[in-house]
């Protein structure tokens, strides 16, 4: 470390010699080369403008790859054709939106002009409902259990968190093999039921496993957040309850749950936001949304409409993106509002 406790900064050469390490000296020389233009620049533009120099590279990439696309996204939704470059695309007004939204009855995807989109919307809705509640319940129970532990807490916390770090492809393949015709589950299942089931080729089973795998994959993350909320509850509240002779069950319903509620609501909205965007692991697990379209979700519709067909309908995909973005925006605003309320 270059700075000592009193804030004195050792000159670079002295530091390099005192550390005496060859790698350090090499790094020092390299940094000398990097430092030179920065020092010249500082002399040229003055100290006041230096922060811009530091923020600029990051901002440039951020602008190019995030801000500009955000602005363009809306433009794409109002254009048609199959050209990729926005300025080559004809303006079509609300046509993309009206195509997406034209339905005989909104309760029956088959009556819609783009029945695949509405099937995807329906699928995403039930997935979101089951996945969000399932994950919330499992994470809450796990967090409560972990919070009680005095020993082994770090160990179990690590175990439950481990799947979160895996890649969606890995998770999908691990489960695909587990559920395969020759898989472990069938080895157990066949004994009980007398026959093997190809779980991922049956509509109801495949939907069940998509939600199950998703909960398995992500619950550790939400457990950590809820656990942090639980640990923030002051202990003297429980002490008071204990003196009053409150039962544990009552403690949970009357103390823990109300105190945790703001935290849980934020987690729930976060879960909804993430669930709406389901794609990666479900797509690989179900071989592209199958059987049929039983597990086709909105992001898959956007991806396939824009990139995975011969006729690339960027405008239609963008319109669907904008609709999804609006839903996410509402959820994000709800979350910010809840977060603000929790702070007060």
């Amino acid at each position: 470390m270059a700075a000592t406790d009193d804030g004195y900064v050792r000159p670079a050469r002295e530091a390099a010699v005192s550390s005496g390490d060859r790698g350090d000296r090499l790094l020092e020389a390299a940094m000398g080369v990097v430092e030179w233009p920065f020092t010249r620049l500082q002399r040229l533009i003055g100290l006041r403008r230096m922060p811009w120099v530091f923020v600029l590279p990051n901002m440039a990439l951020f602008t190019i790859f995030v801000f500009i696309p955000v602005l363009l996204a809306i433009g794409y939704a109002f254009t048609g054709g199959t050209e990729l470059l926005l300025w080559n695309r004809p303006f079509v007004g609300f046509e993309n939106f009206s195509r997406l939204l034209s339905c005989g009855s909104y309760l029956d995807p088959a009556t819609c002009e783009l029945d695949l989109f509405w099937t995807a919307v329906f699928n995403t809705t039930w997935y979101t409902a089951f996945n969000a509640t399932g994950t919330l319940v499992v994470s809450l129970v796990t967090a409560l259990v972990l919070n009680r532990l005095t020993r082994g807490k770090a160990f179990f916390r690590a175990i439950f968190f481990y799947p979160v770090l895996l890649s969606p492809v890995v998770v999908a393949l691990v489960w695909k093999w587990f559920l395969a015709r020759n898989g472990l589950l069938n080895a157990v299942f066949a004994d009980m039921m007398g026959e093997r089931t190809i779980f991922l080729l049956e509509v109801l089973w495949s939907r069940f496993w998509v939600v199950y795998v998703s909960i398995w994959f992500h619950m550790g993350f939400y457990t950590l957040i809820i656990l942090a909320g639980l640990q923030a509850i002051p202990r003297d509240i429980y002490e008071a309850a204990l003196i009053d002779g409150t039962s544990r069950w009552r403690q949970f319903w009357r103390l823990t749950l109300p105190l945790l509620m703001p935290n849980l609501l934020v987690v729930l909205v976060l879960l909804l936001i993430r669930s709406v965007q389901v794609f990666d692991e479900a797509w690989v697990l179900t071989d592209g949304g199958g059987p049929g379209t039983a597990n086709t979700f909105v992001v898959q519709f956007i991806y396939e409409t824009a990139f995975a067909t011969d006729v690339r309908l960027y405008g239609l995909a963008s319109a669907a993106s904008v609709l999804m973005g609006l839903a996410l925006l509402v959820l994000t605003l709800v979350q910010l509002w809840l977060g603000k309320k929790a702070e007060n």
Binding site: A3, A12, F38, F62, A73, A154, V169, W175, A187, R248
Partner: protein, 347 residues
Amino acid sequence: MLGFLTRTRGKSRMDVTDILAWAWLILGTLVIAIPIGWAFLSSFKPEAEINSFPPTLLPRAAEELVIEGYDEPLPAYLWTDETGEARTVGLVRRIGLKATVVDPASPGERLSVDAGAIEKQTVISAEWANYTDPLERFAFLTYLKNSVFVTVVATILTLVLNSMAAFALSKYRFRGSTTIFVLMLSTLMLPLSVIMVPAFMVIVGLNLADNLWGVIFSTVATPTGVFLLRQYMLTIPDDLIEAARVDAASEFRIYWRIILPLSAPALAVLAIFSVIWRWNDFLWPLIVLSSPENYTLQLGLNAFQGQFTVQWHYILSMTVVALLPVTLIFLFLQRYITEGVASSGVK
């Protein structure tokens, strides 16, 4: 809390909730470990074993016997003769219901026995070819190289660019700094799926389509990283910087010699996250990269499993390769990761 409760309630009394809690923990551990463990064990099974049902738990291969007078090792079988005595023999050939076997004790003598009286013998063994074949015969070595390249370069760039931006946003007050920070934060929640099409157009416009640099450049300016580092740098006292300025240190030297070394814990957390993010990335590389020689491991694995659906022995071994780096990082650094997630709420 448990310690506190049991202390006042009397010692070492397990009540119903304790039992339920432990049942939950053990069940949860099994539910998490079994599918991964099953895939791991299966990845060492030879092709014939992987396609057999009911499956064996441990990877097994046919046992072989080296018998004098035979060039090739013979598959081992357990032969139960008419008297009920069982012994291990080598199978020479099987025709219809009859099998020709050789007893290793008397290698010169060939016996003709009932095919129903012999049973194939297996031994526990690992099929390492599952791991070496895909690297040699298929393009997995290329995928692996691409993944390592993207992960390493993107992580280094992320650390450098994000720390520079965080330094400017935490240690200076300049016009527009709040605007920049708020703009970045507002995109924390913005998912890729909403800007997929225009982001791809930008990539095409920059001539970075089907190029690993297209994946790298578009992911390094993470708002999460800037946020994480900025919050940490705010805790570094400004006196240090003032003192350095008095000593005529340039701003870059302050960044490099003071701020960076003092931010090491936050940089470590970001480095861990960045490696995991980039290694696991799927949808964005799927859009940007189109030719197989540019695939990352995740894309290659997905394409391979779509194409060779029955080659599970290869699919599983490469799945294990794909989960190995993340698992090793987690084994050694899990404390930083779980605490980093708990304190910042990112993943």
